[in-house]
Symmetry: D2
Subunit: 376 residues, 4 copies
């Protein structure tokens, strides 16, 4: 008798060691000076994970809070913001920029491809007076990973502050904040990091801090105001009581990842094998290129619906996979292979179950999915 295998693109399985840390008795994180050292130690681990010397913060809230905090803190009314998008999440970034008064210009890429370096380069030649550019590293709904490594230095060349949502990327894709000139990098606890949902983390460059500290207008809001954090360690004061149990768990999650020298390789390998087995089976991936290493998005074949696949996977095979939403609703299914879910045996079971569900619905498969996965 086994638990439902949750193979959606996050939240991922939370390892028992991480959950055990949730259980630790707590101290008073406002008063206990040891807690300030703990929090700093955690941030240092995240720095190593993100390959950065930039300051790192963990906020008490879901991933979207980090994104909002970046926009709220950086953007002043009238600031020009470039919203680079090739997917649902990328486009939504623009709404946050506008909410805080940004004058948003949208740069739209092909929604089935990664953002093209040369096209953006061309565009920027005549359009580059932006204070901030927003960009999504891994577009979870479509399963596309943008080439942040090249795009950010390009933007930075024009003095544009880069804000990158890597919630679904970091941990599963290479991610080098300093080398790649990312001013604000955003992540969430519940994707590749495989801790419980409820925390968002971000790194902030000194360029970004400068913009924040030298605003002309005050930041609207307290909870998403990064300025409140500028001297937390010196003053031994947090803007609010810290979610200490969640932070204990996050710390263990980072310990686990920092010990795992093979993490990115594993994601690449598993993702490759998943895609290979789907293609060998005759199925069609949604993206044309720039495939994500953390989530695979598959076009639903003729003859079966999302609901049928989802329910049969769950009820007959005890495995939960995801569909998508917005314009992808009912068009695709998604299999997550991130963090603690990115292990061969889990994908084997998932592909075997999918194989069985499709066959029961008379979908023709050229090869058995799990067998191609194994033979690879």
């Amino acid at each position: 008798m086994q638990e439902t295998l949750i193979m959606t693109p996050g939240p991922t399985y939370v390892h028992e060691d991480v959950r055990r840390a949730l259980m630790k008795p707590i101290t008073n994180p406002d008063l206990d000076l040891n807690f300030y050292e703990f929090y700093r130690g955690l941030c240092d681990k995240i720095k190593r994970f993100l390959n950065t010397e930039n300051e790192v913060l963990v906020l008490c809230g879901e991933g979207i809070l980090g994104l909002e905090a970046a926009c709220a803190s950086l953007i002043e009314p009238g600031d020009k913001v470039l919203c680079i998008h090739n997917g649902i999440f990328g486009k939504g970034f623009g709404d946050f920029a506008k909410m805080y008064g940004g004058d948003v210009v949208y740069y739209e890429g092909d929604y089935k491809s990664g953002i093209k370096y040369q096209e953006l380069e061309e565009f920027l030649k005549n359009n580059n007076d932006f204070k901030v550019a927003t960009l999504v590293h891994c577009e979870t709904p479509s399963g596309i990973t943008n080439d942040v490594e090249k795009l950010c230095p390009l933007l930075k060349k024009y003095g544009i502050i880069t804000v990158v949502d890597s919630v679904a990327g970091m941990g599963g894709e290479e991610f080098k904040v300093d080398e790649w000139n990312i001013d604000i990098a955003l992540g969430g606890s519940q994707k590749c990091i495989s801790a419980s949902p409820g925390l968002t983390l971000l790194s902030i460059s000194s360029d970004a801090w400068n913009k924040i500290k030298n605003r002309k207008s005050p930041i609207v809001g307290f909870y998403a105001n990064l300025n409140n954090w500028s001297t937390w360690y010196e003053d031994k004061w947090f803007p609010y009581t810290q979610p200490i149990s969640d932070l204990y768990a996050l710390d263990v999650a980072f310990d686990r990842m920092l010990k795992d020298k093979n993490m990115i390789e594993r994601h690449k390998d598993i993702a490759h094998r998943v895609r290979h087995s789907l293609i060998e089976g005759g199925l069609e991936l949604y993206p044309l290129d720039s495939f994500s290493n953390t989530v695979t998005t598959i076009n639903i074949p003729e003859g079966i619906t999302y609901k049928e696949i989802y329910e049969d996977m769950l009820n007959k095979h005890n495995i939960m996979i995801a569909g998508a939403f917005d314009f992808l609703k009912d068009k695709v299914i998604r299999i997550g292979h991130m963090g603690e879910n990115c292990y061969e045996e889990k994908l084997y079971l998932t592909l075997k179950a999918l194989n069985s569900v499709l066959k029961e619905h008379n979908i023709d498969l050229k090869k058995d999915l799990h067998q191609s996965f194994v033979l690879d």
Copy 2:
């Protein structure tokens, strides 16, 4: 060998059963329909706890997020807001109102007393065209509990939307949202509720919802925007991935409290005995009246400093108590007796230790604190 006893006014001790719930393996709270039922069940428990039929929400963030969400969602630029205050937290409420454009009028009470009904009644006769009034139930820094039972109906008589911060009150003080006409009641997970910090809960009356839904200007911000929650159950859609582990734990915390028929009585009794023993010992309470049942604030006697008390309590007796901040910094010490910390044996140990610390510093005590506590 025992753990440090954390007797500060929150976060409180988290019972093992509650922490064990943190450890439960999780599902995908976005996709798993059972989770929507769980979340609704949790909200129903909170309704019973708050004695209300109003809608209840739990937000992913510390208590201050609920307060900000109330202000951000209710207040439009130019709205008249009455900030009733007799303490640090009450006054700070006004800052949030102003942040979101409120035209704030401050009504200041005596900082050593509860807000006086008759004085406010008098004031309101000529000043009552407020959209919203903000009020703190229990002023944690000073240990004063305001008579919300009488004050809110008075405000409501003038059609004013009442927003009450009861983060440090609910669970330890009687609290009847519907009977007392509280439009938005705010609480946090980490005080009397005795769950880990990181969640804020609020009840919202239909009057408050009407104001929110009929705004002329859009709400600035997403994370603190209550409107995003208006159809979560019908649409099976949350504004962000829910902090499922923390919610599992909160649910158990409410189960425990709803089973405990004696909870408010216990807080009253313990608080009374604590105050009695301090007064018998010759110490002075900070408030003159309206003593809180969840936290006791004591003036630091001549001949000893906050630092000395705090450190001796911690280092020699393994008990953490709190001081305060702002104008109370170094003037008072505070002992929390809320939720899981509100048990006779814990206060006995705390008072015995305090007795010993004071005596070692040659502070004259008329009677031994722990003995008065026991004899009472």
Copy 3:
């Protein structure tokens, strides 16, 4: 980063739910009357599991304690005991019988086969004046499961008390105590039951109880004396303080198994597929017939040693498998597939790792082990 996969023939993986039960705060099991009901409820679950109306007891000690308790309690000096053996454990049973004064006759079967019904039938025709016969259901060292279903009724026809060690069988093999006339059936917590080691369980028929209660000589020993248990429920008295935490966990383990309607089928299926893939690969199983559904014993091929296989599996693939001892030492390796270890994905990983280890040592395999396992 994952834990070592322990694929030895027990102790097996202990499910988190079972381990969580270990953690439950305890009561005083000597004084708390609720505990007596709990213990009885647990025994009732075991009865259902064993398909018996016989009394069931759980003793505080490893599996061998149950075996000793059966011998110590049943056998008086001079009693004739038939030790039926076709393996190391079966033969060792005789030592226990002798220790307590039994006059032991050994009936030896082929060590590579199950005990043959007809041969035993023949033997018994002229040799049947035994008080007790001992028999092992599943010989863990060799991976052979004896046909207890037929052998016990045959013995019982002659009025012989049957004592069956099913420590490694029950849960993974069909096991019907009443239908099969098993007087004392023995099990341990750490094999298919998948609880932590430290408990032994046994069912005792009324025939066996009669022999125990009507002994002429006293039982030597207290801890292994079943007579001390004859009125535990009526008298609300246990011979010693019960290992309450271990029993809490065992109870959850039985809850899990009783809910799992497919348990025996799963063992049969996985065991079959494991053997199939090994044979397809050109490897040789140790037994010639009567293959166990809980452990597979494989002859080590020429060109590699046990130590090499064990260490490479562990150090390069993070999987622990077992060798054997006595005359099988260094001759075989054993893979356990019992209880919580009997899941497809675990055997897939194990066979894939074994495949890789053998290939690296230039052992020729006709087919890849894990691929045959999957293709089956």
Copy 4:
């Protein structure tokens, strides 16, 4: 809402850290060489705890198993054994000696006093040809602690092997195995050590080992046969699969105790204050002298029964205390103050509840029990 406080003389409260260790995932303790080092490390901690260089073993079974193992392994048919007793447990020791063929001579002390050194000295002058003497350190039923420090060297002077049951003593009373010449010292996991019941531990001197190894007759039994353990470390072989989860927990329990420099002092102090408050209240202790520091036995006053006290304590105050059995049944109540139960606040609550129960039954108390306890 709080749990029942279990204030019986064992099993005691098991600290959360110790229970959390129970939950750890396990390895195969038969095959994993690291486990042998772990087990040895645990035994080394126990040696420090017992102040001994003697070999230490932990057996998989309740405390009584250790006692039986000592008798079974040491005593050969016809061996002269001196059973020194002044209580129910001391006398019962003789039964074990007889079970294994011992020729038992009983030396009976006053059942309300500790064994008198001079009287035993006198006795031994003319009666000293014993192979083994058995003795109980702390008689749990009567609450008497014998002066093992003096008695064992006296016995040893005559070359007698001393076997001391300190199940209820070690951890709460000073206990120096080597200095006091104790050949076999016996303990259990569930008393002052405050781990879950199910383990017994013993230290064995080289004199004792010599007797065991040079027996003329074989030891009857396997599970209680210490000889099976003589080369466990060298051979990397245990007589049976070790109860690894329980051992993990025991290890943490010893870590906690070894860190606690004040443990014995605390037991002395609490025990003294408990007795003082009972006497001040006008109640009568059962023993006349040699009061135990781990359990206090109180004569039930006229006008109330054991059942009434037990049930009112449990049902009205949520505290479980114990009565006794055998000739003490219904004559006394017992309060345990051992290990994790030996903290001021727990005894305060217990005495306050007892005070209330007695008063409700119109038992006249000269002073309130909990107040004397506090004032002391």
